[in-house]
């Protein structure tokens, strides 16, 4: 067998106390496509960033064509003919495609020749590209094309694509795959990061699986099935011993019917999503990152305008039904809807980092009353109560929340949101980045709310947690509901399959 194009040996990278990658080994040969499979936070992107010169590994060796190399910057990576297509494109919006392609190169500046060379590369692999078109006029798939050509133009023969299909339509995905196959035939080594099993199976030669930063193993695609890969990816069921009570109420509290959301770039993020959240239960929402979870919660909270559907709230006090669609948070509050929301972005949305705990307590309540002035007495009492009850580790209630550790920030945020006695509580990734103790504290808080008759909506990424904490789980995939399962009986693999199943369905439709 020939020398591998790139080989990673025992790569380890830590950020502070978090181990992002631990002893990862990978081998990719020329003329081969390797998929890297793993759940969110399994360390795929970090690993690739080390190959492309964004991060520097703490330990381990990188070999290119059998020789050990040091990659300290994107420029180094170019020199070893490594090119990475980032999930968030690195393009200058007001520049044309050609401008972006030649940006930062050292060669002689000749746009005509450069455009011609770009067009040649495009033709060779079957791309369409208009070199003069501005990036801001392009669709997502066109932008991706520019990124790929940019990398090929720099002579890359080891290509890394970070979730390239996340933003593409099935047709665009198919087209991309045919391009990748042509590159493979051309002798390039290709690494593709994805969560989508059918893509892995249809495209790659080998699959490497990461789980929570650890390297699980590499298998030949021909020996793999969706089930075997899911097992490797999600691992054996781990018992977490989260308490779960039987729901004792069953009233519908929030009914979401057929909602659609198209973002400002014209991409459809939510597609005909329907489900019901009931009082006194925890409804889980599962899905790979970016399947529309954030937009779904923001839409319910009144932060983003929908293009279709309705959100019906059953008011337990009056028994009336209110449509919350396209109401502002203020209007929702005025309707008497006690909707609490723990957003994913804690310091950027849920809290104000530079304000102290007391002032953050007031975010929701400062407007109460006729007085011109804010009253800090109640917020102060609340802050102190939360610090005491939730064991927030802070010097004082007047410490800016930015100075607190992740877990304590989350306690402050969740504490505030449940202090208003909500009837609906939405929490997006509430335990992300938290240590075990803090995580359990949050689970217990959510359970308490459930027992108080609150309709809890929990967006999570850890399937074990979802299965043990929730009563029912809605699975989202690419903005659509692919299934609603009973968390008490569902299997982990079943969730894994539902989360990654868009493709087949669409292929069947197409």
């Amino acid at each position: 067998m020939s020398v591998p194009a790139i080989e990673l040996q025992n790569i380890t990278k830590t950020f502070g106390h978090i181990v992002a990658n631990k002893n990862v080994n990978l081998v990719v040969n020329r003329g081969e496509i390797l998929s890297i499979l793993g759940e969110n936070g399994s360390g795929k992107t970090t690993l690739m960033n080390m190959i492309s010169g964004i991060y520097y590994p703490d330990n381990g060796r990188i070999l290119i064509d059998g020789e050990e190399v040091v990659i300290r910057s994107p420029k180094d990576a170019f020199r070893y003919k490594i090119g990475m297509i980032h999930q968030h494109f690195k393009l200058v919006d007001v520049f044309s495609a050609a401008d972006n392609i030649v940006l930062g190169l050292d060669e002689k500046f000749n746009m005509k020749e450069a455009s011609a060379k770009g067009a040649r590369i495009a033709a060779q692999y079957g791309f369409d590209i208009d070199p003069a078109k501005k990036i801001y006029e392009m669709s997502v798939s066109e932008k991706q094309t520019v990124e790929i050509i940019k990398v090929l133009y720099r002579g890359a023969d080891i290509l890394i694509l970070d979730e390239p299909t996340a933003v593409l339509t099935p047709q665009e995905t198919e087209k991309l795959f045919s391009v990748l196959r042509r590159m493979k035939a051309d002798g390039k080594a290709i690494i593709i990061i994805t969560h989508k099993l059918h893509e892995v199976l249809s495209l790659s030669d080998k699959v490497a699986v990461l789980r929570k930063g650890e390297y699980i193993g590499t298998v030949e695609t021909k020996d793999a099935t969706e089930t075997s890969l899911t097992e490797m990816m999600v691992g054996k069921k781990v018992s977490l011993n989260i308490d779960r009570s039987e729901p004792h109420e069953n009233a519908d509290r929030l009914t979401v019917r057929g909602i659609d959301y198209v973002n400002h770039e014209g991409v459809r993020i939510l597609d005909d999503v329907s489900f019901t959240a009931r009082a006194g239960e925890i409804l889980g929402i599962a899905g790979v990152a970016g399947s529309g979870q954030r937009e779904l919660l923001e839409a319910i909270a009144g932060l983003s305008p929908l293009t279709g559907g309705e959100i019906i709230y059953d008011n337990p006090k009056t028994g009336e039904k209110e449509d919350l669609r396209n109401k502002t948070p203020m209007q929702i509050r005025e309707l008497g809807v006690r909707l609490s929301f723990v957003p994913e972005d804690r310091l950027g949305m849920g809290l104000v980092g530079d304000m102290d705990i007391i002032d953050n307590m007031m975010l929701r309540s400062y407007g109460k009353g006729k007085s011109m002035f804010v009253h800090r007495k109640d917020p102060k009492a609340l802050a102190e109560k939360i610090i005491k009850d939730l064991e927030v580790n802070t010097p004082s209630a007047t410490t800016p929340v930015r100075r607190l550790s992740g877990g304590n920030v989350q306690k402050v945020l969740v504490g505030r949101e449940i202090s208003v006695r909500p009837t609906v509580l939405m929490a997006a990734y509430p335990v992300r980045g938290l240590d075990i103790n803090s995580s359990y504290l949050i689970y217990n808080l959510l359970n308490q709310q459930k027992e108080n008759g609150v309709a809890v909506i929990f967006v999570g990424e850890d399937l074990d947690v979802l299965l043990e904490l929730c009563d029912r789980i809605v699975v989202l995939c690419a903005g659509r509901v692919t299934g609603v399962v009973d968390a008490r009986t569902a299997k982990k693999e079943e969730l894994g399959l539902l989360m990654t199943r868009t493709g087949e369905k669409e292929k069947a439709n197409a």
Partner: protein, 368 residues
Amino acid sequence: MHKNENHVREPLFHIVKRAALPGWQSAAIRVLAVLISLIVCGIIIVLFTGENPINVYATMIKGAVGTNRRLWNLLQSVAILLCISLAVTPAFRMRFWNTGAEGQALIGGLATAACMIFFGGKMPTALLLIVTVVASVVAGAVWGLIPALFKAYWGTNETLFTLMMNYVAIQIVSFFTYRFSVPKGSGQIGIINRDTRAGWLPVIGNNYLLNILIVVVLTILIYIYLNYSKHGYEISVVGQSENTARYIGIDVKKVIIRTMLISGAICGLAGLLLVAGTDHTITRDTIAGRGFTAIMVSWMAKFNPIYMIITSFLICFMSKGSVEIATVFGFNDSFADIITGIIIFFIIGSEFFINYQIKRTHREGGKA
């Protein structure tokens, strides 16, 4: 501009963002920066004058607060500068870069002068004062409102817009100084209502005391407004994170417009204090760059009205002191601007050491 580097050298140092520095440490860094800047200024002064530094500083202190008159004069300058600094602060807290205080104050002053000229002697003193105050405050507010509207609805760059509005204001004032000039065509308004003193702010104790008292009260009011009112709270939220403002349902447009109305109104008040309080005339140079200095004063005080007392005092003190040095040693007054500039450079630069940390690069583990 960059050559093909074949060896990537690992830098000896790298910069990392600090999590947060305890309050006393960041205060210490700022104080240190001021001290170093004073030493540097001292060295420069000594280079120019050949005097020994102690004498130089003694001259400065004498110049700034040496006599009663000078002390009052200094306090009056501090009051006006502080007033304009207070005016820009609500906008800055909202991350709205109001560089138009100069124009907003000048338009306020123009409104004052116009009221004094047109209504002086035609209405009772009390009424005249009320009309004058209202007119100047409204004029300043309108001047602040215009860029705010465009920012709120179309995202027009507020730094550049407010900056341009200064010069529109200056030319308008120039226009009126010719129109109102006494004698006609002289291009100077001269002391308005010299004999009747109509529209002049009442004198308490001396010419300056009223202004100073007004600004003291204003400082307290703004401090309370920013820290204890609902509006102030909204301003902070919008300034820190528009996403959070959205999350809790604050109307960002409304906050921008309301805050700039207040910012402009206080500038208008500063114009009033200058024109009706001390100058009793108006020229295109009435504000004399204080609108710009105020931006630096407010920024150096981290937008805290109480700290602004210190920073505006520092700037005025150094400036008056340098003027004295200039007089004694036969320079011109502009020496003060050089000194002010240097001090501000040091204070601006010191922020870096509060927000960032320079670390020795460790060779990371593994073979490199």
